[in-house]
Symmetry: C2
Subunit: 116 residues, 2 copies
DNA sequence: AAGGATCGTTACGGCAGCGGATTGTTCCCG
DNA sequence: CGGGAACAATCCGCTGCCGTAACGATCCTT
């Protein structure tokens, strides 16, 4: 069965979540960066710059820059595709998995505390 | 009863949501801006710059700038507090209400489409 | 072997956000 | 009534992201 949620609950959820995120001085990713990160971790590999760009409807430089930033944070890593050396394969990292695990738990906790 | 949600569902929810947001070329607000907007619309007035800043754990200039930006988008408006003219009262707008209504509906739609 | 196509990255100029310090009003209290 | 406190806005230099346009490397086709 699907998750039932009323609009007012949805907004409260977003509110609590955004407050947690803003306070947390975990480096707050931009919406685009988060979208890329989630795509890499939730969708089936392999992931390329080109694929992610078209998936999100943004330009390739946006993806490259986001990978630069998140790479510096060790949330993702890059590797040349040896089969086709033009491609770059985006890989998951332990730190990235932990980051998302924590994020998921935060959402669950906030949702649980939501008034019915 | 509380909203029950598994971590994997939570991440999928965020994923779909971020994709919708990124594609939508609705001006995507930064996490901080969204947090301020939601606070203004979900918490009981009156809202002041100082109050919002301490609520979010950010500095006052951050709030002022966010209000500048969102004011230009007509998502909020400002008014001097006549009782204490040092204060500025942040007010809701019709456009802001519509923006959040739409956002809430998006969350609901995404949640409903989530695999159980 | 060569031309063009594809891929990711980088360069560029511009815009917006940041923290910290300062300013100008307005209020409060001794 | 005068000096300090409180409040929001502004200024400063900096950093990071944006879109467009190039670029180098690699592949593919003929």
């Amino acid at each position: 069965m699907a998750i039932e949620l009323r609009p007012s609950q949805a907004l409260r959820l977003l509110h609590e979540l955004s407050l947690v995120q803003v306070r947390d001085d975990a480096p707050d990713l931009s919406p685009r960066q988060l979208a890329i990160l989630l795509s890499v971790y939730l969708e089936t590999p392999p992931h390329t710059v080109r694929g992610l760009a078209s998936r999100l409807g943004v330009t390739k430089p946006v993806v490259t820059r986001a990978l630069d930033t998140m790479g510096a944070l060790h949330l993702v890593s890059r590797r040349r595709d040896e089969a086709d050396r033009r491609n770059v394969i985006i890989q998951r990292t332990v730190e990235g998995a932990l980051y998302l695990e924590k994020l998921g738990d935060q959402v669950v906790a906030v949702a649980r505390a939501l008034p019915r």
